[in-house]
């Protein structure tokens, strides 16, 4: 359901911050992916998806993150994820090999140069 997931965007210079909030599953992942990519501008060099407030994410979400990364890579843009160290999502993301291809930071603050 649409109300299961919310998306918020903020921009810091050439960094685009996208907050996902709620459950990510097959029902909303396509919309979420399109909306996320839709907010990206050519001037953005890095896109950061913050998963701190995501309560549920399975392989549909993992596939979507990997797709977003490839799309951005095609446009020479980078994708990073924000995920607290104690996140319950970490295990599934690791099984899906996400940290090996997308940099994962424990907080937005940790990304500060």
């Amino acid at each position: 359901m649409e109300d299961e997931i919310q998306l918020k965007v903020s921009r810091q210079g050439d960094r685009l911050l996208v907050f996902w909030r709620g459950d990510v599953d097959m029902a909303n992942v396509t919309t979420l992916e399109q909306r996320t990519l839709g907010t990206v501008q050519n001037s953005d060099s890095t896109v950061i998806i913050d998963l701190t407030d995501v309560a549920y994410l399975d392989s549909a979400g993992i596939r979507s993150l990997l797709t977003i990364r490839r799309r951005l890579e095609d446009r020479q843009q980078q994708l990073s994820l924000v995920l607290p160290d104690d996140s319950l999502l970490r295990k599934a993301l690791e099984i899906g090999g996400v940290p090996s291809v997308i940099p994962v930071h424990p907080s937005v603050a940790a990304l500060e140069p």
Binding site: M1, E4, D23, D25, M26, A27, Y56, L57, D58, S59, A60, I62, R63, L66, L88, L89, K91, A92, I95, G96
Partner: protein
């Protein structure tokens, strides 16, 4: 020249008469109204003063007056005439029409006809499938010569009546037997903590019921009595005999909770009150300590699936059926019912097929009982398919199953539409269940994702464009969770990139994952130990 001369007035009249009798409107009448209507019409057409139908009472070889016009007293007085003698009796005996131009005492036995002053009579038999089922006759108060055309018309009516009467009596028998049979099977089962009970009955091909039945009831607070039996024979007589026996079982077990002794007494009971009735029966009494004491009078052996899912046919030395031999002492047997075991009791219709050894049917049942079946309907189909390739039972059959849980078993059963919007609801249901099971937050997350993967796959690939149903169950046995996701499709990983991701996520989040696909669909079974 006139190419189409008008039909002669005689044949036109004949045609009109036939139409009167084959009027389509008659098809909607009940048998009683049809008898009434046709007798009225034939009396008018043949200008007769009386018309009557007598139906054959086969066991007594008598004809019973069932409907009449002009001599209604015949029916009111319930006139019965012997087959063989007299006018109607001769028609019934020979199956041929009889004409009496002059009625006299020697030829007519029915006093009412003589009293009424009937002079001439014509009668024809009611015949179905070559068998006489009754007699239809007309009579006149003035002397009359009946013609072959009159015989033809009367026979037309008789044929029509014979079919209607036969159809009604068959229908009545079937309905009586079915109603009785259904009323005798328990429509709900006693609630016993940790025991799931299911029953199934199917009539034989063509809807014919037989004498198979099952019964489950509580004695006292916690003794569960289970019965499966089979009375030889079919239709209403078998159903009636079964009703008597079922009530006798209930009464006897109520007085004495001893299965073997009860069967011995039931044998005496049948020999005394219902000589000629034979029945097989398995009678068991299950105690809360997980034991079943039972006795078996010539019935099919129980099939037991132990707590590890291994099935076996519990064979024992055969003992005679009830009602076969005087004074039998049945043997009491004992079966230990492990936690998470299942017991299947059934009648021979499930495992016996013409031209197939019984062992093959029993093995098909044993193997099917080991599989994951949720309904007895499914189990039945697996046995029938696994056995003779027949998809339908020739004989009627009854199945009773009991599933035993452990004390801590806490189950979740839910069914959802193959629709992505159901996923969120399913997660809420699982979160509650996992909280009750005291899963920690990471375990909860892992299980939610694993279940989500299995259900997502079912939604995406199992059903294609059509909607289907997905069954999800969870069983918590002392902290070991078993979760199954069942659908009617084939497991298929998404195409393209990241193939196998869902499966690999499931496998790594759970302790073990088994995916099996057969013609009925896909079942994903996974376990996770919480502590």
């Amino acid at each position: 020249m006139d190419l189409f001369p008008p039909a002669s007035s005689e044949s036109a009249e004949h045609l009109r008469r036939v139409q009167t009798l084959t009027d389509a409107a008659l098809a909607h009448l009940t048998v009683e109204s049809l008898l009434d209507e046709l007798l009225t019409r034939i009396r008018q057409l043949l200008r007769a003063d009386t018309a009557a139908v007598l139906l054959l009472d086969e066991p007594n070889a008598e004809l019973v007056a069932t409907a009449a016009k002009g001599i209604e007293e015949e029916v009111e007085q319930g006139v019965r005439l012997p087959v063989g003698g007299g006018f109607a009796g001769k028609i019934a005996a020979t199956g041929k029409p009889v004409i009496l131009d002059r009625v006299d005492h020697g030829k007519v036995l029915n006093p009412l006809l003589l009293k009424r002053g009937i002079r001439s009579m014509l009668g024809v038999p009611l015949v179905v499938g070559g068998r006489v089922t009754g007699v239809l006759h007309v009579g006149t108060l003035v002397p009359r010569k009946f013609t072959s055309s009159d015989i033809e018309l009367l026979q037309l009516v008789a044929d029509r009546l014979a079919l209607a009467v036969r159809a009604r009596s068959e229908q009545e028998h079937r309905v009586i037997a079915q109603t009785l049979q259904r009323s005798l099977l328990p429509d709900r089962f006693p609630h016993v903590e940790g025991v799931a009970i299911a029953g199934h009955y199917s009539p034989a091909r063509g809807g014919m019921v037989g004498g198979d039945w099952y019964d489950v009831f509580l004695i006292g607070l916690d003794q569960l009595c289970v019965v499966v039996g089979d009375i030889a024979g079919h239709g209403a007589p078998a159903a009636i005999a079964m009703a008597r026996l079922r009530n006798a079982v209930r009464a006897m077990v109520f007085l004495d909770e001893a299965p073997a002794k009860t069967l011995s007494r039931l044998n005496d009971f049948l020999m005394h009150f219902d000589p000629g009735v034979m029945a097989t029966m398995l009678l068991g009494i299950i105690s809360p300590d997980g034991t079943m004491r039972y006795a078996n009078a010539g019935h099919m052996p129980p099939v037991y699936v132990d707590g590890h899912g291994k099935g076996q046919v519990i064979e024992g030395s055969a003992e005679p059926p009830l009602g076969g031999v005087d004074f039998i002492n049945y043997r009491e047997r004992l079966l230990n019912l492990e936690p998470r075991s299942r017991l299947v009791l059934y009648t021979d219709g499930l495992v016996e097929r013409r031209g197939r050894p019984l062992e093959v049917g029993l093995e098909a049942l044993r193997a099917a009982a080991e599989t994951d079946w949720t309904t007895l309907e499914t189990l039945k189909h697996r046995v029938l398919e696994g056995g003779a390739g027949a998809d339908q039972n020739d004989d009627d059959l009854a199945i009773l199953s009991l599933s035993f849980g452990s004390q801590e078993a806490d189950e979740l059963h839910t069914t959802l539409e193959a629709d992505p919007r159901e996923l969120a609801t399913l997660r809420r249901t699982f979160r509650r269940w996992l909280a009750d099971a005291k899963a920690d937050p990471q375990q909860t997350q892992d299980i939610l994702v694993a279940v989500g993967e299995a259900v997502t796959n079912s939604i995406e690939h199992a059903h294609g464009p059509g909607r289907g149903l997905i069954q999800v169950t969870g069983v918590n046995t002392d902290g070991l969770l078993e979760i199954t996701v069942r659908d009617r499709g084939a497991w298929r990983e998404p195409r393209g990139e990241h193939r196998g991701l869902g499966r690999s996520v499931m496998r790594q989040l759970m302790d073990d994952v088994k995916i099996s696909t057969d013609e009925n669909g896909t079942v994903v079974t996974m376990h996770k130990r919480l502590r």
